[in-house]
């Protein structure tokens, strides 16, 4: 029973069709990398999975939830799907610990003490246990992004989505974030990552999906896909030095 099932999804922005019929399934524990040019639809696809973007046609099932337009059903889905954004989006008016505790307390109804314990736990998992009381402003980009990951983890999601999470970071800071993500993968989290980090994808993702012009153009085991791309578009994409 796949934990993510995307079936015939079409999506338009106004007159522009961005997803032209996408089918994808992801099994529990799989790590799937999604690569492609800007405009290929990869970030859009990711954002459709947790309902940030509506789809015009097709079906999306995630962690036993059917994706619906809004309301309670969508909130239930979002309890089981975590997302990490390119621009971290930490809440600037809350300390790190409070950032992480907010959703468990407010959306899951967990009491303050338990939420705090959980927050410390996930902070430790991302290697920032001593930053519980810090303000997001005072952290580096890499640290902020790791806090963002912890914030999603605190909801104990079944699936984690990563939307180009290292693209906004200075090169020297990407390493710590990628290391965190690799650890998560080893612990068995189901992950979908939109990324430009090809070496990372090749090493950590069991499967890689190449998107082109709103469709899944090629997909397969990561090592094989990177070593021997079949379609000319993927060959060109990989050959154009984005390794």
């Amino acid at each position: 029973m796949p934990v993510v099932r995307i079936d015939g999804v079409h999506k338009r922005f106004g007159a522009q069709e961005v997803l032209k019929g996408v089918d994808l399934t992801v099994e529990t524990g799989e790590v799937v990398a999604i690569i492609g040019r800007s405009g290929s639809g990869k970030s859009t696809l990711l954002r459709c999975i947790n309902g940030l973007e509506p789809v015009q046609s097709g079906v999306i099932d995630v962690a036993g939830h059917r994706l619906e337009a809004g309301g309670r059903a969508l909130r239930e889905l979002r309890k089981d799907v975590g997302i990490v954004f390119q621009s971290y989006n930490l809440f600037p008016h809350l300390r790190v610990g409070e950032n992480i505790m907010l959703a468990p307390r407010v959306a899951l109804g967990i009491n303050k003490a338990e939420a705090a314990a959980r927050a410390r736990e996930v902070l430790a998992e991302v290697g920032l246990a001593d930053r519980f009381d810090a303000w997001p402003d005072n952290l580096s980009g890499g640290q902020q992004q790791r806090v963002a990951i912890a914030r999603s983890l605190a909801m104990r999601p079944k699936v984690m989505l990563f939307d180009e999470v290292t693209s906004a970071l200075d090169p020297e800071l990407t390493g710590e974030v990628l290391a965190t993500m690799e650890r998560l993968a080893q612990l068995g989290m189901t992950m979908l990552l939109v990324t430009h980090e090809m070496a990372f994808a090749a090493r950590v993702a069991s499967r890689t999906v190449f998107m082109h012009q709103g469709r899944i153009w090629e997909s397969g085991p990561s090592k094989r896909l990177f070593a021997a791309p079949e379609t000319p578009e993927l060959q060109q994409f990989l050959g154009s030095g984005l390794k």
């Binding site: 979002r78 989006n89 809440f91």
Partner: protein
């Protein structure tokens, strides 16, 4: 030509000054608290409610902001009794101040709400918070921090606007000034003294609001930074 100022007769009537000051303070306090509450509630309803609510609130804001407070006050004071609503001058004054400030606060807070970046809201929604929870925990505090200076200015203006209530015979500071003036015939001196009292009030209010702002949105947090960059 020499100016012969006599402040003594004016200061001898400080009992009237204090009475007027007290009423001014009460009107200002009620007006500010009521108006701020109304404005925040309306800004929230506008953000979360259906299109019809938004349109109604927008009409209210535009009407109040494009007509003088004096005319609104006269409408309330003379108009409502003709509909059978019994209210005295002080009640009309407070009602007028609340309705007046409410419109400005709605507008100011709305701008603050809209300045919160969409990505913050997306982050909140993605964490399975409801729209209301996102609003309450993620949007509201930063919004008010950002517009705090604008709110402080508006509160001060409303405190000064209590002087208009003298038009409907509310015996606040300006009305008492007229009483003192007719008693002592020292017109200029009277108004100098009253002007100084108002100035003192305005500076005091600003100071209090600045302190409140610093307390609510401390300098170390992201909120403090929002409050300061708005200057």
């Amino acid at each position: 030509m020499g100016f012969h100022f006599q402040f003594q007769p004016v200061l001898a009537r400080s009992d009237l000054l204090l009475e007027g000051l007290w009423l001014t303070l009460q009107l200002a306090a009620l007006g500010i608290l009521g108006g701020a509450l109304l404005g925040i509630l309306l800004a929230m309803s506008r953000g979360l409610g259906p299109r019809a609510t938004r349109w109604l609130i927008d009409c209210y804001v535009e009407l109040i902001r494009n007509t003088p407070f004096l005319v609104q006050l006269l409408l309330i004071y003379f108009g409502l009794p003709s509909l059978g609503v019994k209210l005295n001058a002080e009640q009309a004054a407070v009602l007028g101040l609340v309705i007046y400030l409410g419109a400005y606060v709605t507008e100011i807070v709305r701008a603050g709400i809209e300045s919160v970046h969409r990505s913050q809201i997306e982050a909140g929604l993605s964490l399975a918070l409801s729209r209301w929870q996102v609003f309450r925990h993620i949007v509201l505090a930063p919004a008010i921090a950002r517009v705090w200076p604008a709110l402080a200015s508006q509160f001060t203006l409303v405190m000064l606007a209590t002087s208009v209530c003298s038009f409907i015979s509310v015996q606040e500071l300006s009305a008492q000034a007229a009483n003192i003036e007719s008693d002592t015939f020292r017109s200029f001196e009277t108004y100098i003294v009253v002007a100084l009292v108002y100035l003192g009030l305005a500076l005091l209010l600003r100071g209090l609001l600045a302190l409140l702002g610093a307390a609510l949105f401390p300098a170390g947090s992201g909120l403090g930074r929002l409050r300061q960059t708005a200057r």
